[in-house]
Symmetry: C2
C-alpha cells in the first residue's frame, strides 16, 4: 500500500461518507488530484478493488469502500479531528443539570452523543461488575411490613418490601439493621449467601440474607442494561430506508441483552474500539459500525459508551466527539460519586 493509494483510499472514504454516492475517477481527479489524470486514478482504483479495499456496486459505477477499506482507513488514515471549543462547552454544560444520579448522567450522555454523532448512541453501566453492599436499612412501613433499602457500590439504591414479625417496632428494626450492616458490609451477592446467618433475628428476617443478595444481583443486572437514544437519526440514513434492515438494527437495540453482551465483551479493552460491518458477531449488525470506548469514574473503569451507525459513519468526527462525551460522562460521574 503505497502513499498514493492511501491518499486515494482516504479520498474515496471521505467523499463517499459525505455524498453516499459511489465516487468515480473523474470526481476524484477533479477534487483531490489535480496533478493526476483520471486514467491514472482508474488504474489505482482497480488495484484497490483487487486488494479488497474498494468495491463496485456494478460494472460501470464508481467505487465504494469495503469493510476492509474502512478498517484500513480507521487503523492508519484516521485524521485527528478537533472538536469545536463551543461544542466542548456545550457538552460540559449539558452535564451540569444531571448532578443527582447515575442514571440521569447516562441518559444525558446518550442524548448528547446521539445528537453530536448524528447516529444512535448506546451507553451501559458497569457490566458484570459485582455490586457490593455499602449500607442496609430497614424501615417499618406498617405493622408486619418493612422496607429494605440497600445501597451498593456505585451508590445505586435498591428497595424492596419484606414481611416481618408483627410485634417489631422501628427501634428494634434499626438495631437489626445495624447488626446486618456490620455483618454484610462490603460483601457481594455470592458472599452474602455463603455467609452464616445473623443469629437471633426475628421470625421473617431469617431469609433476609437471600433478599439482600437478590437485591445486589438486581443492581448488577440493572447497570448492565444498555440505554440508547437517537433512533430518529438512523431512519434518515439512506442505508436504513429499507424497513427490513432498519428493523434488524432496532431488534438489537430494543433487546438490550444482545447489545449488552456485545459491549460487555469489549469493555475490558481500553481505548477506542471500532467494529466495522461484518466484524460484528451479531448478524443484525453486519451492516453497521460500532464506535466504542469506555468511560471511567475517578480512576475506575465504569461502563461502555458508543455510537451505532452505518459502516459509512464518519469515523474521525464520531471518534473525536465520542471521546469528548465519554470524558465528560466520566467527569460527571466522578463529581457525583466522588
Amino acid at each position: 500500500m503505497d502513499q498514493r493509494k492511501e491518499r486515494i483510499l482516504r479520498a474515496v472514504v471521505s467523499d463517499y461518507t459525505e455524498t453516499v454516492v459511489p465516487v468515480g475517477s473523474h470526481a476524484l481527479a477533479a477534487r483531490y488530484f489535480l496533478e493526476l489524470s483520471s486514467a491514472t486514478i482508474r488504474n489505482e482504483l482497480s488495484e484497490l478493488v483487487d486488494d479488497g479495499f474498494l468495491a463496485q456496486p456494478h460494472a460501470s459505477a464508481g467505487r465504494i469502500p469495503t469493510d476492509q477499506g474502512y478498517r484500513y482507513f480507521v487503523d492508519f488514515l484516521l485524521p485527528q479531528e478537533v472538536v469545536d471549543p463551543q461544542l466542548r462547552r456545550h457538552v460540559r454544560q449539558g452535564f451540569e443539570a444531571a448532578d443527582h444520579d447515575v442514571e440521569a448522567v447516562l441518559e444525558v450522555a446518550a442524548a448528547m452523543l446521539s445528537r453530536l454523532s448524528e447516529n444512535v448512541a448506546v451507553v451501559t453501566g458497569p457490566a458484570n461488575a459485582t455490586s457490593r453492599l455499602r449500607h442496609l436499612d430497614l424501615v417499618l412501613i406498617r405493622p408486619g411490613q418493612a422496607l429494605m433499602v440497600e445501597v451498593a457500590t456505585g451508590n445505586a439504591a435498591f428497595q424492596r418490601l419484606i414481611e416481618i414479625d408483627l410485634l417489631v417496632d422501628q427501634d428494634e428494626l434499626s438495631g437489626w439493621a445495624k447488626r446486618l450492616n456490620e455483618m454484610y458490609r462490603g460483601m457481594s451477592a455470592e458472599e452474602v449467601e455463603a455467609a452464616p446467618m445473623v443469629a437471633g433475628l426475628a421470625p421473617g428476617l431469617q431469609a433476609l440474607g437471600q433478599d439482600i443478595a437478590r437485591g445486589l444481583r438486581q443492581l448488577a443486572t440493572r447497570s448492565a442494561l444498555v440505554i440508547h437514544d437517537g433512533v430518529r437519526n438512523l431512519v434518515r440514513q439512506p442505508e436504513f430506508e429499507d424497513p427490513v434492515r432498519l428493523r434488524a438494527v432496532l431488534e438489537v437495540l430494543e433487546a438490550q441483552r444482545i447489545l449488552g453482551d456485545v459491549l460487555a465483551q469489549l469493555a475490558p479493552q481500553a481505548g477506542m474500539q471500532v467494529l466495522i460491518g461484518h466484524e460484528n458477531t451479531v448478524a443484525e449488525l453486519r451492516e453497521c459500525s460500532l464506535v466504542l470506548t469506555s468511560y471511567q469514574a475517578g480512576d475506575q473503569l465504569w461502563g461502555t459508551i458508543g455510537v451505532v451507525g452505518p459502516t459509512r459513519i464518519r469515523y474521525g468526527q464520531v471518534a473525536a466527539r465520542l471521546q469528548l462525551v465519554s470524558r465528560a460522562t466520566g467527569d460527571a460521574l466522578t463529581r457525583l460519586l466522588a
Copy 2:
C-alpha cells in the same frame, strides 16, 4: 346513519385494517354482503364518502376510512374483543419476574404491550404527582462525605452525595437521620421547604432540607417520563415506510417531554381513550392513533399506559389487550407497593 351504512363502515374498517388496501364494492359484496349487489354497495359507499366517513385515494380506487370514519367506528361499532385465556396467563406470568421496583414493572408493561399490540407501547409513571418522603437515610461514605438516600411514595429511591462535618461518625449520622425522618416524613417537596429547620444539626447539614426537597422533585420528574418500547413494530407498518413520517413519530417518542404532556393532559379522565389522527394536537402524531388508558395501584390512579400506531390500528384488539396489560400492571404495582 342507518344500520346498513354502519355494517358497511364496519366492513370497510375491518377489511382495510387487515389488508391495508382500499376496499372496493365487489370485495365487500363478496365477503360481507352476499345478499346485495355491488351496485347497491357502491351507492352506499358514495354516500359514506359524502358524509365524510370514507375517502378515495383516487377516482377509480376503493375506499379507505377517514379519521371521522374511525371515530364513528370506535364510538359506536367497536366489537367486544375477548382476549385468549392463554395470552391472559402469559401476561400475568410476565409480571411475576418484575417484583422489585416500579420502574421494572413499567418496563415489563411496555414490553408486553408492544408485543401484544404489535405497535409501540408507551407507559408513564404518575405525572404531576407529588412525591412524599417515606424514609431518609444518611450513610457515611468517607470522612466529610455522606450519601443521602431518600425513599419516596412509590418506593422510588433517590440518592445524592453531600458534604458534612469531618468529625461525624456513622452513629451520629444515624441519629440525625432519625430526627430528620421524624421531622419530614410524609412531606412533599414544598412542605419540606416550608418546614422549620431541624435544630442543632451539624455544619453542612443545615441545607439538607433543600437537598431533600430537591430529591423529591427529581423523583416526581422522573416518574413523569414516558418510556416506550416496540419501535421495531412501527417500521414494518406500511404507512411508516416513508422515513420522513417515521422520523416525525420517533421525534415525539424520543423527546419524552412532548408525549408526557399529551398523556398528562388525558390522565385525569378515566376509562379507555382513543385519539385518532388529526385529533392529536401534536402535529407529528397527525397520522397516528393513540389508544390510552390509566392504570391504578390499589385504588389510586397511578399513570397512563397506551399504544401508538397508525390510524389503521386494530382498535378492538388493541383496546382489549391494553385493558389486560393495564390491569396486570396495576395489580403488579399493588402487590409491590401494598
